[in-house]
């Protein structure tokens, strides 16, 4: 089936088998390996991408369902040089160890801060409830996001 969509700001047009999953399309066919497959059942959030700005589980999304939509992956929120403000906060606060869950968290946090630039701790924990980390115990992840929540930033700076 033909699909056309915007991926990280660029137009993409392809033929895909109808059963193709979005994560496989992006990782294997398009070569963007930043998104990780972990639980493969929508629970862990490692596969998080943004669909029109909203977080989704790319492991359980059909590629055909992003036709005419905008998809953002971790590659799309990482600047060509250096790190985004979200990524910097994670590094500064020790919000990652092995890093496998991290792209998923960065995507979720990027979406959260776009919707709610100054979330409370409760709002942060609620939003990130569906992103699992086996290394950090979450404390430093929450601290990293809280540090971002108290910043005053220009709109485009995410």
């Amino acid at each position: 089936m033909p699909i056309s969509f915007v991926l990280n700001g660029e137009a993409v047009a392809l033929e895909v088998p109808a059963h193709t999953l979005l994560i496989d399309l992006v990782r294997d066919r398009l070569g963007l390996k930043g998104t990780k497959r972990s639980c493969d059942m929508e629970i862990c959030g490692a596969c998080t991408m943004l669909l029109d700005g909203d977080p989704i589980s790319s492991c359980t999304t059909l590629a055909v369902d992003v036709d005419q939509r905008e998809v953002t992956t971790i590659e799309g929120v990482t600047p060509a040089e250096g790190l985004s403000r979200v990524q910097k906060a994670f590094v500064l606060h020790g919000g990652l160890q092995c890093g496998f869950c991290t792209p998923g968290f960065i995507m979720a946090v990027t979406a959260l801060l776009k919707a709610t630039p100054h979330p409370t701790e409760e709002e942060i924990r609620h939003y990130l409830h569906g992103n699992l980390c086996r290394c950090t115990g979450y404390v430093k992840i929450v601290e990293a996001v809280k540090s971002l929540a108290t910043e005053h930033v220009a709109e485009q700076a995410a």
Partner: protein, 262 residues
């Protein structure tokens, strides 16, 4: 098979527990994602509304905030982005949040099929686990319920993605401060939400101040009558106990909200 977000269907297909040659994407159908109030003072929610849509909708936040916060807590943020209330209802997963509250709200579900349109009450919609009365060629289009006039409350116990036990309650209170009708539904214990009839009867005509006492008398027997499936969420006596605890938390909230209104 119809799908919109596919958060249940696609997962089941990946796990090879559902096999089908074709799935039909209903995201292109117009007018299935509208939330509105009617002249008959009812609220209509389109079946294709996502949990996110409902959680953020100003009409729902105003009229039934408990439903807004329920939808804001379904599964995780990714499921809420694309998962719909219609999909949740039609999949018939017993460990779910919306069916319990919609049964307490006395909702009806509109099913459109080749033979016409029919309405099924929330209490009658689920036939058994993962099975509803919807025929394969029927589409759930709308959820309708009377705008509640008293407190609507919801409590659940949840460890992972799905609730182990949940309880929803809706009161209508008369001007004198007595409860003229109450609907209590306990969900996730068996295939469908179950009424706590003895509790509902104890609440009828009861003054808000006397509610705890009235319920305490009938609650143990009412909990014993619940149909409970034992599974990884817990054994029967544990789940019954939780249902009782959750009910009393609902009652506490409903009492304080009623008192604050007077």
């Amino acid at each position: 098979m119809f799908y919109s977000g596919g958060t249940e269907l696609l997962l089941a297909m990946k796990m090879r527990v559902i096999h089908t040659e074709r799935i039909i994407d209903i995201k292109g159908l117009p007018d299935l994602d509208i939330i509105t109030s009617t002249e008959a003072n009812e609220i209509e929610i389109g079946a294709r509304c996502t949990h996110k849509n409902i959680a953020e909708n100003s009409l729902i936040r105003q009229q039934v905030p408990a439903l807004s916060s329920l939808c804001g807590d379904v599964a995780n943020v990714r499921v809420r982005s694309v998962g719909t209330i219609g999909g949740n209802l039609c999949f018939g997963e017993p460990h779910a949040d919306p069916p319990t509250m919609l049964a307490a709200l006395n909702a009806r579900f509109m099913l459109h099929g080749p033979k016409g349109i029919r309405s099924v009450s929330a209490d009658d919609f689920i036939r058994s686990e993962l099975e509803t009365v919807r025929e394969p060629d029927e589409l759930l289009t709308k959820i309708v319920f009377p705008c509640p006039t008293g407190p609507v409350t919801y409590r659940r116990f949840k460890h992972g993605e799905r609730p182990s036990v949940n309880v929803a309650m809706v009161w209508s209170v008369d001007a004198g401060g007595a409860i003229n009708a109450a609907r209590v539904r306990v969900g996730a214990l068996s295939s469908r939400p179950q009424p706590l009839k003895a509790v509902e009867e104890a609440l009828r005509g009861c003054f808000v101040a006397d509610v705890s006492l009235a319920i305490e008398r009938v609650l143990p027997a009412a909990l014993d009558e619940l149909d409970v499936n034992e599974d990884r969420h817990g054994r029967a006596d544990y789940k019954r106990h939780l249902a009782g605890v959750l009910l009393m938390r609902n009652v506490e909230e409903a009492m304080s909200r009623t008192e604050n209104h007077r």
